[in-house]
Symmetry: C2
Subunit: 337 residues, 2 copies
């Protein structure tokens, strides 16, 4: 199988997402006067994109309440606080995730506002909501969905909190596709070497803090566990010293995923511990990437995606060494569940 | 080592927690007019007790905003929404968890209200807050802390939302210690058999939904990973079919932890899948336990602790078979970190 990084295909595939940024931002700004709450509802990687966006809302916004739900839990909890001043953000890359589509129908007739993010307009999710944004056919749908959702929330914070970074955010999101491709290309040689070094391993632990936990989950679970069937567990840096670090030994691989957000010191503490007590550590630090076109104030917001772009190259090389294409599944789309 | 369940010691050790219930409830009720937000802040098992309490707040309360933080992340995020109408709930069993104590100091001079939960009044956490509740010296500090925190939040919901289950909650919490001991005793033979069956395994996956994810994390990480150094990963039932289920095979042990809350159907779906595709499954279902003295309407709220009491007996038997007391640590309290 070919795993070469095809920049000529990848970078233009962000076109629909880039094109959607201004409209998403303007929708967020226009809703500011009508919204006090944002409830994010998605499964899998889209949910973890929301995790990072929620972090920044909590860090920056004095005015906005925020929750993040898995769709099935959202419907089970059926929160009575959901009201006309609540914006529900739904997301599903394929637009067919059954629970997310069910949540869209569940919300019909409710007083809240609903907006959905997906790749395709002719799929059930987009068809079931009053307003949607599309990122089109791209191998980088995770990052593309993040871009447009973050633009929406940036607009909301600009309108509601006079968030001062809005212009910098929008310029940086527009530059992000190229920066992601740069990160993938920059990491190619290291990714190949890391994959060879860890090709025989069947356990991986991923440690990250703050918005970078998005990357720990998406790389650790959505890729290594789901696609390569590895035992692969993301650990919150804030929890590392409260139990999980007892699993550390000289043999078990650890991937330390470090960004530039206010939670970075938590990872620096983890790295110091691992320097003494772990034996096989990969450190991926967003500071090692140039991020051309990304404003210094916005680097912390996009760092999880820069690191994901880099790590994804390691998964590609691992898939060759495991002789298992990343599209392989045992059950998903193959059996009834 | 002796691992016999010593009911004569365990049940009375809940005395301070039971005694604190009415005062915690009354504090919650008295704060109702002054509070719009509850921010839970703790690490480890205390944080996961908050996870379940937060679930019920989201399910029942139209009036209360709620967030849950790890202490180090809470301080890094430094949420600007924290105001005079916010109640911050801090918890640390030992009262010495460095980040939780730091969070208490971080909050000094802030306009929010602060209440802490711990075992001991002479430790740094209780000393650093204006108001605290103590559960004393008990091997069941996790459940004891839950009881008193849930009483506080029950009082808050009673005062703010006219929550109709308050009286039933309080009677049931008072009966919970005996019901937990019943569950431990009831599960003794099965726990011993399960431990023998899985004594050679080094990977475990735990699946749970809603408030029972508390149990999946505390049993999976705080006990099996931290104390027995097993690769042990809790999975949200809502996420199971969106990636993690690809790890399922006929050999890998799965523990399905099923409660009686609105999210129970998510676990029933997981169990059906596992009946077909997994080979080595332990099912722990709260419906198998009588829960004497627990009101039917409150069973869903305490079920995670009933299941924890049952599962903890399996950990005790595993510790004998591994010849590793549950107090064993490689790093915690032993090295600098």
């Amino acid at each position: 199988m070919s795993i070469a990084f095809d920049r000529a295909a990848v970078e233009p595939s962000f076109g629909p997402a880039r094109a959607a940024l201004p409209e998403a931002f303007e929708l967020g700004r226009s809703l500011a006067g009508e919204i006090d709450r944002v409830y994010f509802v998605a499964a899998g990687s889209a949910n973890r994109a929301m995790l990072g966006i929620k972090y920044w809302l909590e860090h920056y916004s004095p005015a906005i309440e925020v929750r993040r739900y898995f769709p099935a839990e959202f419907m089970a909890i059926d929160p009575p606080r959901l009201d006309g001043r609540t914006l529900v953000v739904l997301a599903s890359k394929s637009g067919t995730t059954p629970e997310t589509v069910a949540a869209a129908h569940f919300l019909k007739g409710r007083p809240c506002k609903v907006v959905a993010f997906s790749q395709y307009g002719d799929r059930p999710l987009a068809q079931a909501v009053p307003r949607h944004f599309l990122v089109g056919d791209t191998s980088e749908s995770f990052a593309a969905m993040f871009m447009v959702m973050q633009a929406l929330i940036g607009g909301l914070m600009a309108g509601k909190d006079d968030w001062p970074l809005a212009d910098k955010l929008m310029a940086s999101l527009d530059a992000l596709p190229a920066a992601l491709c740069d990160a993938a290309e920059q990491n190619e040689a290291r990714a190949a070497a890391d994959a060879r070094e860890f090709a025989q391993d069947r356990h991986f632990y991923h440690v990250a803090a703050g918005p970078c936990f998005t990357t720990a989950y998406v790389f650790g679970v959505c890729i290594l566990m789901e696609m390569l069937w590895l035992h692969s567990y993301p650990i919150e840096a804030a929890e590392f010293f409260h139990g999980p670090f007892e699993i550390v030994d000289k043999q078990t691989p650890l991937i330390l995923i470090t960004g530039e957000d206010p939670s970075r010191p938590l990872m620096e503490r983890v790295a110091t511990f691992c320097d003494s007590h772990a034996g096989r550590v990969m450190k991926y630090d967003s500071r090692d990437f140039a991020m051309a076109g990304i404003d210094p104030a916005i680097r912390p917001i996009v760092a999880p995606y820069i690191l994901q772009a880099a790590l994804k190259r390691m998964a590609a090389h691992l898939s060759v060494l495991h002789n298992q294409p990343l599209s392989t599944r045992r059950y998903m789309w193959k059996v009834a569940y």
